[in-house]
């Protein structure tokens, strides 16, 4: 078969712009996911029962349902309650953040639990409160250990963000679909899209490896 290189060349800038949006969605979602995940992860370990139950329900619900369905819930089902249309960007970011938050909560929980319990005892025996010990002793150590799984979560979200194309949000995958709808050049465009994802994932993986080394030297 003949590849249409002219088409690839002319579509590439459009796809790259889409890739930038993919990175934006991912960074924002994982960023908010970190905030949510940190709080929920700690809530799952604290001894306030209602807080722990709420956190468990959240994590179970998000992990037990597909991201695609969660996106539909925010974009199509939510307006049924609020009565007003949801902006696709808002829907994309909130669905992905809430999804990411649940997975990151589990990463935080595992990271915190991997710290020797003697550390908490040492902190408490010096008169520090649970919160102080968490902040100054447990979290700094846990954070170092959760960098690799957080990197994995970022990579997963980078790829899963392609699902927001279904609500018409123009990130990388949606851009590809739109170009193909116009040109019918399925093979060229999907190969380009795949290649761009691959390069992005590769770069993120390298970045995470660098971070890991940086934190490991101390």
């Amino acid at each position: 078969m003949d590849l249409n290189f002219d088409l690839i060349a002319s579509s590439f800038p459009l796809l790259l712009a889409g890739a930038a949006i993919t990175v934006e969605i991912t960074a924002l979602s994982v960023g908010f996911g970190l905030l949510i995940g940190c709080m929920v992860g700690i809530a799952r370990l604290c001894n306030v029962k209602p807080l722990r139950y709420l956190a468990n329900i959240y994590v179970d619900f998000i992990r037990g349902t597909p991201l695609l369905v969660q996106i539909f819930l925010v974009y199509f089902a939510l307006p049924g309650i609020t009565g007003s249309r949801v902006d696709p960007f808002f829907a994309a970011i909130s669905a992905c953040s809430i999804n990411s938050g649940a997975y990151i909560a589990e990463i935080f929980r595992a990271g915190i639990q991997s710290i020797d319990k003697g550390q908490m005892e040492a902190g408490r025996s010096l008169g520090m409160s649970w919160a102080q010990t968490m902040r100054y002793i447990i979290m700094p150590q846990a954070f170092k250990r959760i960098i690799p799984p957080l990197g994995n979560e970022f990579i997963a979200m980078l790829k899963d963000s392609s699902l927001v194309s279904v609500i018409g949000f123009e990130e990388l995958t949606r851009r590809g679909q739109l170009i193909i709808a116009r040109t019918y050049a399925s093979f060229e465009i999907w190969m380009c899209v795949a290649l761009i994802y691959l390069v992005m994932v590769f770069m993120v993986a390298r970045l995470v490896a660098m971070l890991e080394r940086k934190f490991d030297t101390k």
Binding site: G123, G127, Y136
Partner: protein
């Protein structure tokens, strides 16, 4: 009358169905060094850990320097005043030795940095590790780590110190450097409760030796009473195996 620093009354502790402490009464007065000995599983570590509520008793009471431990507020209050040294040191690996020593005085007592640093350096000097202030715990030997842990507890200026088998995780040649620090603390009048298997230490610096077996204090007395004139057969057989 001498002041009661630690008063444990009818202390009970169960882990599920396992009844570890079955009504322990123990009073430690100011400046007293009490050595707690006993076979493994006897409950001696649990007893020590109940004294600052790292382990919450299932019954009985603990009173530290007149403050009964009842709720979170006075537990934190008491923990400021009662230091603890652990078998496995539990230094904070992400901080330098100096930072390990300065953290709690600054965050709990609200002491300013320069003052906390001066205090920390003084106690490092005291345990013979002034030159290690800026190293990380993992770069130190076990004996050095335990001396740092003692200095860290001292930086809170505690009224009493609890030692939970402080030399059990150490190589034999490092045990004495830690015991020497503990001996000097005892001579300076620190109130101490020490769970240990170091009978030489118990005899030399213990004011009182407490033998715990099966979750109760079976026998207590001066080191001389316990080591040479034990009344209980169980005490004698335990001592004969480890002396």
């Amino acid at each position: 009358m001498t002041k009661e620093m630690i008063k444990v009354t009818n202390l009970q502790k169960s882990f599920g169905n396992l009844h570890v402490l079955k009504g322990v009464n123990l009073t430690i007065t100011e400046k007293e060094v009490v050595v707690i000995i006993g076979p493994s599983g006897s409950g001696k570590s649990t007893l020590l850990r109940c004294m600052n509520y790292l382990e919450e008793p299932t019954g009985g009471s603990v009173v530290i320097d007149g403050i009964p431990l009842t709720n979170d507020a006075n537990i934190n209050e008491v923990r400021k005043e009662v230091g603890m040294v652990f078998q496995r040191f539990n230094l904070f690996p992400h901080m330098t030795v100096l930072e390990n020593l300065m953290l709690a005085p600054m965050k709990v007592r609200g002491i300013i940095k320069s003052e906390a640093e001066a205090t920390a350096k003084m106690y490092l000097e005291k345990v013979g590790l002034a030159d290690k202030a800026n190293t990380y715990p993992e770069q130190l030997s076990g004996g050095q780590q335990q001396r740092v842990a003692i200095a860290r507890a001292l930086c809170m200026k505690p009224k009493a110190l609890l030692f939970d088998e402080p030399t059990s995780a150490l190589d034999p040649e490092m045990i004495n450097e830690v015991l020497d620090v503990m001996k000097s603390l005892a001579h300076e009048g620190m109130t101490m409760a020490v769970v240990t298997h170091e009978m030489g230490f118990a005899r030399e610096v213990g004011d009182r030796v407490v033998f715990v077996d099966g979750g109760v204090i079976l026998e207590e007395g001066t080191p001389d009473d316990i080591f040479f004139h034990a009344k209980e057969e169980r005490t004698r057989s335990f001592l004969s195996k480890i002396l």
